[in-house]
Amino acid sequence: MSLIQEVDYGTPAAKSEKTVTINVDGFDVTVPEGTSIMRASMEVGIKVPKLCATDMVDAFGSCRLCLVEVEGRNGTPSSCTTPVADGMVVHTQTERLKKIRKGVMELYISDHPLDCLTCAANGDCELQDMAGAVGLRDVRYGYDGGNHVKTRQNGEENARYMAKDQSNPYFTYDPSKCIVCSRCVRACEEVQGTFALTIEGRGFESRVSPGMHENFLDSECVSCGACVQACPTATLQEKSVIEIGQPEHSVVTTCAYCGVGCSFKAEMRGDELVRMVPYKDGKANRGHSCVKGRFAYGYASHQDRILNPMIREKTSDPWREVSWEEALSYTANKFKSIQEKHGKGAIGGITSSRCTNEETFLVQKLIRAGFGNNNVDTCARVCHSPTGYGLKTTFGTSAGTQDFDSVEQTDVVILIGANPTDGHPVFASRLKKRLRQGAELIVIDPRRIDLVQSPHIKAAAHLALRPGTNVAVLTSLSHVIVTEGLFDEKFIRERCDWDEFQDWAAFVSDPQNSPEEVERLSGVPAETVRKAARVFARGGNGAIYYGLGVTEHSQGSTTVMAIANLAMATGNLGRPGVGVNPLRGQNNVQGACDMGSFPHELPGYRHVADDATRDVFEKIWGVKLDDEPGLRIPNMLDAAVEGTFKGIYIQGEDILQSDPDTKHVAAGLAAMECVVVHDLFLNETANHAHVFLPGSTFLEKDGTFTNAERRINRVRKVMKPKNGFADWEVTQNLARAMGLDWNYTHPSQVMDEIAATTPSFAGVDYDLLEREGSIQWPCNEKAPMGTPVMHIDGFVRGKGKFVVTEYVATDERTGPRFPLLLTTGRILSQYNVGAQTRRTENTAWHKEDLLEIHPHDAEQRGVRDGDWVRLASRSGETSLRATITDRVAPGVVYTTFHHPGTQANVITTDFTDWATNCPEYKVTAVQITPSNGPSEWQVEYDKQAEQSRRIAPRVDAAE
């Protein structure tokens, strides 16, 4: 194994289809028009010395090292900024060039510390490499002149010297090593799109400045690390590299945070992870990352991680560490005896959206083939189940229609109920890049998210609707499109059912669905809606991206279908740049759904009642499968409270914290006889568990994750599981303990089984993934290399289906007791319930959940910024600190749910989506009052949690 060194072509690839041939140092090379001489040279393996150029950002031409000579042209143009021209003859090494380069390097080194041997970048420093490449042997200028290197100069303090900035938890900024190449500044602007860095001053005084000469942590920096990756020296350096040293080998794997599914090189020294570097060939992220993926992996070695299996009779007992054999046989016996006493259906399981496809497949197989029922569900129940239902009904597949590259060809984007700069940061950067190129953005969100307005980004329209009125607003957009004749009749006649369209068109044209009428419900000015509809319908390639603000409502499925209607009516499907794109929350929530995690569906979204599908699995698994759908998560909990459901196997999912109505979840878990939690940490659910099986991190196993664009990415093991087994092995051992004859020795065999049983995965195997890097399903005989864009020549279901989307308001209403609407969301530095990110340095940015409240509402209640407030709903109450902001409208409050202490889900109600039971997290009627601190419930909860996390001291067995 060696360190993967990606080729740096110096400048980005040109997109032209026309090619040009030039000659570099005697070699002919043919490249697309617009390619730089530098890149063309690299294509034939000729490295022109360079410092300020790197292929993640546009050419800049400042370092004066990449100069070349071109026959018939004067001077020595820089090869990074000079495009190729047909017949050009280029020389990259001549006496004249050698002299210039040496002179330039000499100047650089005259203001650079000579501490190479003890420098963190030693061995990975482009300045060092270039000094070697140009043959620098001495510096005639000496080191006594003006410089940025020495703290004292000629007996006085050196005013130019700036101390190292260590404020960011993950990297340092050492101005004394800066060569002012501007790569960091350009990476922040072009790749990340935050514009947090600049070069301050001029001439010799120039230095990189975060914000307005601030430190990194206080500046606008979002810590994505693009600058660190771009820095050619140790000026911006990962603290982990400073601590550990340079990595010696690397493995390409996939991030385990959000649904973007970024590819990374895990750079290792032995079995120690030195750093994560985004992989340029990663088709989802194209070499970029966010603070979570690049830096927040510390949880994998956090002291809270549980590495030994544990059991206990009662949840009031302390945990007892036991051997794997004991834990698994204990569980198997418990489950079997529960089934003997209470029936086959008295146990079930929950698959994890954070584990691999293979692991998820095995858990549902264990439940269907081992437990003999269909009581399997997954966290997608509480996030994107309406997406599955809505898109399957209208298009025929339960997934997004595009790949992420598609955004590069989009002209107008509608973004609904999603906050990509926080939830899906790498996609947000790609979207922002397109917006800076001139694409239009329409935001539909109760809150003014960053994309509504931030440096260089301004949405054409922000529809700040009242939470819960998505359907009405979307229908009013369609109203404008239909009544103003802006729909794409040709597309609809060719691709969709024309009769259904006419019914739908008549429905949306009804005056009660006009923006003017809907304004009374939604609070969105009719003119804004009309403008947005016109921009979307007339703007060229229109794409819709959406998140949980769409699905987590009692009309979540209706909203998804309203989105599908809008895309079909405007002809925005079946080609790059358009489409309906759910931004999936977790790394493998798409995969978990694909792998048959739902009680009514076998892998590949096929109903359990379908004889032919069951037959396929029954033949391979050698058992009879139940043809009745099993219980969903809320039904399992209801049944537990009623006493008919007694045991559950939960892999990598914290239902107590993430599911709505915490008290009901707690009651359900408390009523069970055997709760098995398989996780990295003693999560909140484990407070009610009887068996704890330690889990493995994404760094410790092989497998695949499927991201929001249906892309199957490889996850590769970079270190041994600290707990002894990868999660798929644990599930297999549990299955064996229950008497099943499973003998997988590698996840690739599980993938082969998936391919053999599931048509959309028929062509997938590990060899193909190894060759191609990744594949987007469907991948089968018809599409052997996968499917980047779906529904190209027609919809999967045949004709696209328009569904009438009647607006039925939620039963959750504001009133005199609960006059405000609470909606929830995410923040960049934290992920989901925070189990991972809270155990990293990311807490530097977000220590606690805060309640956002409008100044008007705050003043009425006597709430000041930073005050503790009591947040109460019909379901319960909690306390947290308030922050006053006009990002939310009057009447709306907002919070995140990353910290268990806040328990935002004590507040949320048990209203759910009519079709899929997806809970209505995004609308709760609440009241806010000043308070003194945590609520009684929070104090009690903390006590109970602490009590239930006790682990008994280990007693060595007498043998």
Binding site: E200, S209, S219, P455
Partner: protein, 159 residues
């Protein structure tokens, strides 16, 4: 005026300047000039306001403002004297004149006298090389500046 009132006042006035100029192409430099004309320097908080109004990052505005030495960070004295230090003026003895000025005013470059009367600044070419050494007093250019002439200027401005 309290600190918050002052910040609010600056933000309002700078905001009004931005509104007046935001429509033109490349409005940042004209806005910075007008702010400096208004206050004599770029006050704290002005850059944040400009960044917000122009939809730029704080960093970008800081990068531009700090690039030009003409934009001051601190309030200057009642009078600003700029002495040219470019080649032609140096050749004609500008350094002596400058040293003389520093001694008399007891300030260094870009500093203000203790009585807040005069700020002494270097400038690189006023386009008056034919009459070197050149200086600029409160926006007015003056040629052939000798030590004596400088003394007269200083007494005119009351230092």
């Amino acid at each position: 005026m309290s600190l918050t009132e002052m910040t609010e006042e600056i933000s309002n006035r700078v905001g009004a300047i931005c509104d007046g100029l935001a429509g033109i192409e490349g409005p940042l430099l004209p806005i910075l000039h007008e702010v400096q004309d208004e206050y004599g320097f770029i006050p704290d908080g002005a850059l944040q306001t400009i960044a917000k109004r122009l939809n730029l990052s704080r960093a970008e505005v800081h990068g531009v403002a700090s690039f030009y030495h003409d934009f001051r960070e601190e309030k200057p004295g009642k009078h600003v004297i700029k002495i040219c230090r470019a080649e032609a003026c140096q050749a004609m003895g500008a350094d002596d004149v400058a040293d003389h000025a520093k001694r008399k005013l007891k300030v260094g470059w870009s500093e203000t006298t203790r009585d807040q009367n005069v700020t002494l600044e270097p400038v690189y070419c006023l386009g008056l090389c034919a009459c070197a050494p050149a200086a600029m007093v409160d926006g007015k250019v003056i040629g052939r500046v000798s030590k004596d002439r400088l003394d007269r200027i200083l007494s005119e401005v009351g230092s």
